[in-house]
């Protein structure tokens, strides 16, 4: 029973030792799977017809639903960031579900979740300034009045932290619980007991946390870009 992130190898960059961890390797594996899927779709896209077949239907429904999801949550104004959130959603979902196949989910590593949350943080402020102007965006940080500026700044800085720790904590907790269960369950019940718990901790919690991360990120960006709650 090991919940820790193992190091695979290390190297130095500018005197700083960089660790290539199991999380990063698993991330590359998941990236490879997603890229392979994207390549298959890209190849098949040439054969897409006006009346879609089964595969085309699934792909179109997936992309269309996601586009609608982004537009409905973040707003039409920032719908061009759909590609980013499609990537984040796919990556987090596959990462969370990878626990069912014995892979340590990359999202059970705070470095991964913080990287994604930090990207959201950057998008919030960059798109806020882009759509509302630097003055308008700064004014929104002073609401309801100027003395609230420090509190608002703290609130903004807390967002990536809360986003990252929510996802990280949930997935890590699922990982720990499932690992403990596998250690405690009798050998002859190893293929029986974990199935419903995988369904809850990996499937249900995994999908739920993916949605929560994406919805919150999109909502923050939508509010920052439009100024509307």
């Amino acid at each position: 029973m090991d919940f820790n992130i193992q190091n695979i190898w290390t190297f130095e960059v500018g005197g700083v030792e960089v660790w290539i961890t199991r999380t990063i390797v698993n991330t590359w594996i998941i990236m490879a799977l997603l890229i392979l899927f994207a390549l298959v779709v890209r190849v098949k896209l040439g054969g897409f017809t006006e009346v879609p077949g089964k595969f085309q239907n699934v792909i179109e429904a997936m992309i269309e639903a996601f586009d609608g999801f982004v537009r409905g949550t973040a707003g039409d104004k920032v719908s061009y960031i759909g590609g980013w959130f499609f990537t984040v959603f796919s990556f987090i979902l596959v990462s969370n579900l990878s626990g069912m196949f014995g892979v340590r989910p990359p999202t059970a590593d705070w470095a991964t979740t913080f990287a994604l949350a930090f990207a959201t943080f950057m998008l919030i402020h960059v798109l806020g300034i882009r759509h509302r102007g630097a003055g308008g965006y700064f004014k929104s940080l002073c609401e309801p009045m100027l003395p609230f500026l420090p509190l608002n700044i703290i609130g903004e800085l807390a967002r990536p932290v809360s986003l990252s720790f929510r996802l990280f904590g949930n997935i890590l907790a699922s990982l720990i619980l499932m690992s403990m269960l596998y250690s405690l369950a009798p050998v002859f019940l190893l293929f029986v007991i974990p199935i419903p718990l995988h369904g809850f901790f990996d499937l249900f919690a995994g999908v739920l946390q993916t949605f929560i991360f994406c919805i919150l990120s999109m909502t923050f960006i939508g509010i920052a870009a439009t100024g509307e709650m």
């Binding site: 960089v18 990537t87 705070w110």
Partner: protein, 184 residues
Amino acid sequence: MEYFNALLLSSVPEGRMIALDMQTVGNILIQLFNAVLLCAILTFLLYKPVLKFVQGRRARIEGQLTQAADDVAKAQELKAQYEKQLADIQVERGEILEAAHKLALEKTNEMLSEAKREVSAIREKASADIQNEREQINAALRLHIIEVGSLMAGKFVTHSIDDATQSRLFAETLAELEETAWPE
């Protein structure tokens, strides 16, 4: 913090669950790079092309729906025009029928008047002919009566009266004839 990290690393030498150090920052940067790279690949290989295809088809379908709506509107307009034309034709038909009926009535009245006039003329002519015929018959009858009367009178006179009586009667008759006019 360093103490905490050292403690964590010493307790878990092969790895760790979480730490706030340069290695974590390095991992965050690597994961950020991975995410951006994956985003670029998925966006340009999958998300954008499929979305473009779907939006293109949606635009085509919307165009076709708009075209269909325009066609329906045009068809409705044509239908309204045809219905108006049909209504006009019905009105025109009614007017033509009414005019024909009126004309036929006028012709009928004219023919009836003409026939009445002809009947009246024929009747008048027949009356005149009858009157002429009656006058001719009366005249012929009168002449015949006169002839018969004359013959009978002649014979009677021949057998019964003498010359003096005859002369006297002749004179009286002439006198009577002079007094009474002949009927017309």
